[in-house]
Symmetry: C2
Subunit: 217 residues, 2 copies
DNA sequence: TAACAGAATTGGTCTGACCTAATACCAATA
DNA sequence: TATTGGTATTAGGTCAGACCAATTCTGTTA
């Protein structure tokens, strides 16, 4: 696996780039196809590569020989349990991300956040809320924190939430209740007020968590 | 991969248990050895299995078909950068873990925490502090939170910290400065005072982070 | 120009042989 | 009896080659 990562790093491949076919790579790395596939399958499991049959293998995330992998496994008795588990972790992370965003946001970040916030608001007015617009707005905050770990963590947690909503029951529009706080949060981050940003995030998550607890099976 | 996880789940294997040799498992799962090895290598990368040559393959973490995997990759320009990145996330997580621990700790948890705290204190008196005793004490807190995600996250972050300390420079005893706060934190959790636990954790992490920033190369 | 069929490409699986590192076993020895 | 040390066995790791299945490319046809 290390040999493959080194090879990728040396060539300066970026996310989205395609790797050569396996049969060619074996020659370059001087290993059998089995060993190469072992590395590819491990890096795929870690979300670094994505192999598409008939098409090729693509780089999904930046890697270097110094990259550290943090594989977490969430095993709970039921999806609702897993959701509550991640939600608790998410609280801490989101609050910290808001603080970091308030401290490090650039002018560009602020523009992006406001655009996403407006889109989210109009989505709420026209169709009563869209999960995608909500998520996009949240992500602009995590990006403003300028710490890629935040984004990754939240993306992973979204996947769990998405699994959860697949369940056959009506999705209450819990986003609506936390809605009024979002513009206040935006203002706090824009003004660089870390304390206010943390407090506002806390309020939002309290509302969300309460709603989710109420809708448990 | 799913077939193997299902097989493990059906037999109720627990962490530490050994899987049958690959050549035997292929028969049970009705797949070729390549496919089985693909699954094993992926689950190994995800920290679920551990293959030891000449000995066998062992289960490291509980898995079920419903298990969700959260692979994170930390790629930064230098270890110090990675350390600061994870430290920021750690802040949020530790604070939330302290709150959860204050709410959910059992009588047993309290006993374990106090034992570990005393060991840590005596370690500090005799040899000026031991990283292991510190870590063990912290882990008792995360366990008292009764959310396995906390423990996993912190274990992963410890690995990054350990990599960092390998660097050839003297390790200042930064734990000593945060030392007085630890007993206060213990008291807060024991008394179920979530607010105080959060505040105390915040203080500890402020000190630790400050020290780490000062010692950057 | 658009739609389709077939060829080429590429990852996925299977088989079987061989390599290498742990481990278990057993006899020789102190 | 306890310990040592060599040897056979076990079990994961690697290699090679054939074949499968999904995708993509390409050239022909309507």
């Amino acid at each position: 696996m290390d040999a493959l990562v080194t090879w990728i790093d040396e060539r300066g491949l970026k996310p989205g780039d395609r790797l050569p076919p396996e049969r060619d790579l074996t020659a370059a790395l001087k290993v059998g196809r089995s060993s190469l596939r072992e590395a590819v399958s491990q890096l795929s499991a870690l979300g670094v590569l994505e192999a598409r049959i008939g098409s090729g293998t693509y780089l999904k995330r930046r890697v270097t020989p110094g990259t550290h992998y943090m594989p977490l496994t969430v095993t709970a008795d039921g999806l609702a349990e897993a959701l509550l588990m991640t939600l608790e972790v998410r609280r801490g992370i989101e609050i910290e991300a808001s603080i970091a965003a308030a401290r490090r946001r650039t002018a560009d970040d602020i523009v992006r956040m406001e655009v996403a916030l407006n889109e989210m608001e109009s989505a709420h007015k026209t169709e009563g809320g869209s999960g995608k617009a909500d998520f996009a707005y949240h992500m602009t905050i995590y990006d403003a924190a300028h710490n890629p770990l935040f984004r990754q963590l939240l993306e992973q947690m979204r996947d769990i939430v998405e699994r959860f909503w697949e369940q056959p029951f009506d999705r209450p529009d819990f986003a609506a209740r936390s809605f009024p706080f979002h513009r206040t949060l935006f203002n706090a981050i824009r003004d660089g007020d870390a304390e206010a940003a943390a407090a506002e995030t806390r309020k939002i998550l309290d509302v969300v968590e309460e709603d989710i607890r109420n809708m448990r099976p």
